[in-house]
Amino acid sequence: MYTSLQTNRRDFIKKMAKLSAMTAAATMFPGIIFAEEQEKGIPADTNLDWKKAPCRFCGVGCGVLIGTENGKAIAVKGDPKSPVNKGLCCVKGYHSIMALYGSDRLTQPLVKKGNTYIKTSMKEALDLVASKMRETIKEYGKDAVSIYGSGQWTIPDGYVASKLFKGCIGTNNVEANARLCMATAVTGFLTSFGLDEPMGCYEDIDYADTFVLWGNNMAEMHPVLFSRLLDQRQQRGVKIVDLATRTTRTSMAADKSILFNPQTDLAVANAICYELIKNGWVNNSFVEEHCNFSKGLTKMGYGLEDNYQFTDKPEAISFEDYKTFLEDYTPERVSVVSGVSVKDIKYLAAHYGDPNKKVMSLWCMGMNQHSRGTWINNLVYNIHLLTGKISSPGNSPFSLTGQPSACGTVREVGTLTHKLPHGVVNNKENREFAAKIWNVPVENIDPKPTYHTVEMFRALDRGDIRFMWIQVTNPMVTMPKLKRYRDAAKKEGRFIVVSDIYPTPTTDIADVILPSAMWVEREGMYGNSERRTQYFEKMLDPPGEAISDTMQLIEVAKRMGYEKQFYYKDETHIEEIYTEYRKHHEGKKHNLAPLEVLKSQAGAIWPYVDGKETKWRFNAKYDPACSNGKDFHFYGKKDGKAVIWQRPYEPAAEEPDKEYPFWLGTGRVVEHWHTGSMTRRIPVLHQAMPHAYVELHPEDASRMQIKTGDKVKLTTRRGDITLPASVNERGVPAPMQVFVPFFDENMLINDLTLDSFCPISKEPDYKKCAVKVEKV
């Protein structure tokens, strides 16, 4: 889509008219593609320089081509050479470059003096950040300083952050917003397979016969990937089943939409396994050869209290024990608790159980932002393990990511308190290995993890953390039970540094604001949902004094005396960092492609071994790391076997009651990227979705005499908010449930949400709490 800002007003209006219609079409036809339009809008008489990059928005990781002219990005089109999107783009991708040119870009560092912000030079601002860090460490100890980053960090950003904080300063106070979206996927993979990230890849879509979407509104959140599903349906008649708590565009486009009561996906998954066993659909030889059975602790709590601790105690069980456990999950019983009919449970089981059908399960926030999230991830793996439908083309349990580098940076570089780029901090060998590459004494790396995200903000509130550096993320919109953490950040004696490209509610709480270079204004890499690492070069100069987050961290590290570890040269620092980072993952299990390869093609899937991508891990036919002589090798576990987990259904932390009779769920919309700090500055996207709203079921709305646009007050135990109602529009929640998107900083729904989390992953449950609904 051509997005030059220099077109005349009439052209601009024409374009707005066209885009409004395209956006409307996208509402009615999820996954609709206007590929030709991308080419058509590009001016013929310009001499554009086209360069490839992964899209800035979303974990699908589409390849885009960016056309620049005279130092300005003026066009974007889908990269036809990218195997991810094959030339297509969604509405956010089309408009991505407009996010570079909002009129209020941060261009100069700002330092808070009293109640005002004073412009300062980058040099002075970085001096101040470094000296504040040193002072805080001196006065309160190393664990009083912290960094909170993002799945939108590039790989080098996250890598230097981890090296500085964990390797040099010696604190594990490193977290990232992916804790709020992907931590559960990680613990799901680790507990079931011992290694993180999907075993398959997007190519599975081309082979699967049935797609089961577990609480995943793909049409809005992963639109290009969803269009690949629709395309397969057109070509091969595949089936798409939407299993969710709310009717969405995805449900409308699916062949079958099944609604379940919030939290009861646990029971439904167990009922499917019950049916698989009862009907003789278990792949016995696969289970015998490649699986163990285990159970863990139950009634773990919900992490609502400060300093909550939980460690699971896995215990081996037999297949017979597991079958006995499943007796409680007959379709008839589960139907009562879940609201899913017996027929539909059997329908799902039949799809998974049919030996002639390849099945792909896809999920994202519905299963991850879940107070028993690790469990539900385990349970969906159980289905694929019992049937042996895993690690082969088209048979694929696939956890999708939301952010462009939640996988590449947070999960692979390991920017979470317990992680190192390779392994975990409490493993001596892993610490030694990292220390050697980082050129730091091994004693520097603390063997004890400190705070996960929610606890990190609680520590800020308590005063255990005094200094926090926030990069590329907007926690003052996204934290659950937000008011507590906003008040915490404003307390005396806290020093907050925020690196970003636009003012946000998070820059509002900053003592120092550092302007960052965005996306192709610097060089970097992202890693998407299918283990694909993608490189982008610097195509534009950042505005004013803005520099990359990587450079900000390097400069502060040098000021703190770590010149030896941060030896990188200005011109080649990204290459040097990537080359150093690759050493952490050497070997057949996680080797990353060399930079030349990433530069020459639309990314590469790891493990990249002997010049080849590994598309299906753990399958000896495709994965050179398999070494047990069998057809499958789950080498993340010592005995090479995956784990089928016995995990029960347990209720959510807070469920509707007399006083708060509705469920409240939150989520995203297609037009906006997360908190909208970029996409709300793109006129056509802002116009298409200007503010948040509360969706109600039509029956509830009619009983309460609420029409679309009426003001509705929502109250939870944490606070209240008034929003316009949306009835029978984009999404329709089930009766006695409401849904609110979180992109709107003027209507902060997270002031109402609960900070309960999955005890294993520590990821908050944004999908479930109890709320009162009133017409104003």
């Binding site: 024409k14 079409a25 009615m28 609709i32 593609i33 206007f34 030709e36 629709l230 395309d231």
Partner: protein, 79 residues
């Protein structure tokens, strides 16, 4: 100087015929969806009368099942 955009739903298997017809009309700009039976139509006319005449002409195209107005702008001044 009205500018309007519509979602145009062609009759079954008439997408190409509709595209061809609309492309021949000077005031029409068409964007075709690759994977759905739908088109985006943007019309640009010099006056309200021309706009009304165009609308009438469009309504006569039998291969169009439905036309839904999405947005309308009127740029008064010539720019």
């Amino acid at each position: 100087m009205p500018i309007k955009s519509y979602l145009v739903h062609p009759q079954e298997s008439k997408k190409h015929a509709v595209i061809e017809m609309l492309s021949r009309m000077q005031q029409c700009d068409v964007v075709v969806a690759e994977n759905e039976n739908i088109l985006v139509l943007v019309t640009e006319t010099e006056s309200k009368e021309e706009e009304a005449n165009l609308k009438e002409a469009l309504e006569k195209i039998g291969d169009i099942k439905l036309m839904a107005l999405v947005s309308g702008f009127d740029t008064r001044k010539k720019i």
